[in-house]
Amino acid sequence: MVADTKSIPAISRSNFARTWLNRLGPLLGLMLVIAVFAILIGTPERYLSLKNIRTVLAQTVIVAIGAIGMTMIIISGGIDLSVGSAIALTGVITALGINAGFSPTVALCAGILVGCFVGLMNGLAITRLRVVPFIATLGMLGVARGVAKGIAGSQTVNMPETWVNNLLLTVPRPAWLLVAPGVWIAIALAVIAAIVLRNTVFGRRVFALGSNEAAARACGIATDRLKIYIYALAGLLFGLAGVMQTSRLRQGDPTVAAGLELDIIAAVVIGGGSLKGGEGSIFGSMIGALIMAFLRNGCQQVGWPNYIQEIIIGALIVIAVAVDRWRSSRGALA
């Protein structure tokens, strides 16, 4: 008995330490990636210069904003494969809107709302039609891409110069922003989303849904409605990512971001999200997105060819998932 009472705080302390290691793991990974490339490149002052870092940050924004939405979906035990297509569709909508003479703000909101609508459709297909998320969103991947090409006339949609084009300039205007305005938007959204997930009833229900759907339902959570909210909310973010993509390209491109959903899912998984649901953090996903961006940038600056880059990122995803499996199986034993 004595041993028992003693062991309880000990276990919880080691649990506490492990939780923090899990949480800080991705961050240490990021620092490691940066350090290794700084050494490999041989000119750390250039790799770590403000110029290079703000380039990488601007390049991360689209994946990062997408990963905020994807983190919520993955924590809830779902998945969304239609992100890349949604980004193309909302980008085309934004460009068409600006072209049609609407103010950039209106066009931008239209793009974001279409993203929300795509998410809503996903949510309805999953809950009302009882189609598993993988299939429902796989279907939407095709539908949204097709609609994007259709309304764009299978061409890129060029748009006149507006402030939308300046959202992701690597050298921001005005200069006192230090990094592109889009980077600040992504940071703000990440902070808000992290607080919502951690400290609100909605956020705790998302975790509950992903951890054990039946139990969540038994506790009185309207799981179907919650799922629709989650996909629609994530859709808003995917719409914003589409706006950012259009800002970078200065045009709506219906073929852009094919396969980007995999980058976004990878960012969440590298950041500690579990595809079984119930686990994941916004902070981790942001770090995951940064790890991939710094890897790409680093590989290019070292002068490695593309195929090495693809091998590294591919291997990184598998390792991250393997660690995820290993961790969850240990969790089941304990």
């Binding site: 380039t55 061409q155 491109d253 060819p305 390792i319 991250a320």
Partner: protein, 332 residues
Amino acid sequence: MRKIISILTMLAAIAALGCNGSGSKTGKKKLTIAVIPKGTSHEFWKSIHAGSIKAARELSAQGEEVELIWKGPLREDDREQQIQVVEGFTSQGVDGMVLAPLDDRALARPVEEAKSARVPTVIIDSAIQSNSIISFVATDNRQGGVLAADRLGQLLGGKGKVILLRYAEGSASTMEREEGFLSEIKQKFPGIELISTDQYAGATRDTAKRSSENLLNRFGDEVQGIFTPNESSTAGMLSALQDIGKAGKVTFVGFDTSQMFIDALRARQLHGIVVQNPFNMGYLGVRTLVESLQGKTVEKRIDTGVIMITPDNLDAAETQALLHPPLDQYLK
């Protein structure tokens, strides 16, 4: 924790492969030049790669040491990926870039940002809507259309009924070829009647074949000459003609090259193809950039040349050199 260890092991393993070779040598500063194609797998881009290596070797032999970095977008034909490559080279601070932009608008911002970061860019292959470039080194597409019109007009003796099957709406390079063809026919061969010039082949061989079939159903009995302005439209029209047994009976001039066209030239089913010179494009792209870096003034627009290949000059040394650039010599 495991994740970190895994990443560490992996990076260490890669580092151990010994891929990096950035030993800085003493003496005159080496010029680092990035060449960024639209993709890397097609023969066309391999020729550009080989040409740029030739330029780098020649310049190095002349005492201007040039290090070439060849890097395409991670996903072929993906604008966002190409932008990231350009931005990466900009912040890396290369001495200059040679870029074949995937889009004339989307790549304008990165090129302008590169210029303000003192990284000059030479554009090859396709135009860009920006004045922040050193030079535009590419095929004179209009001239290619003119060559085709001359060939077709001569073979038909200045009279007959001719079809132009256009490529696709909104493709600038092929539109120039079509306009060059049309204006030359109208000016030089008033006896030739253009019976169809408003049909489009579409993006692929498959769509090209379908619209060729439709055109031939309508005009098959009267048509005497045909021009198609790119690879897919030429291939589509050629196989449509072969299917109905008309290949060889209609005078047919195409654009670009593939083994199928060479065989058709030998069988006299094709009577000429206009061929660009990607090897020269890569070569002149790098040379122009280096000359500009050396402080010399360079032309704003440099033509890399087109030639007409016919059944008669197919085996000439010059033609063979163009059709089979010495890739092995440069790409190893």
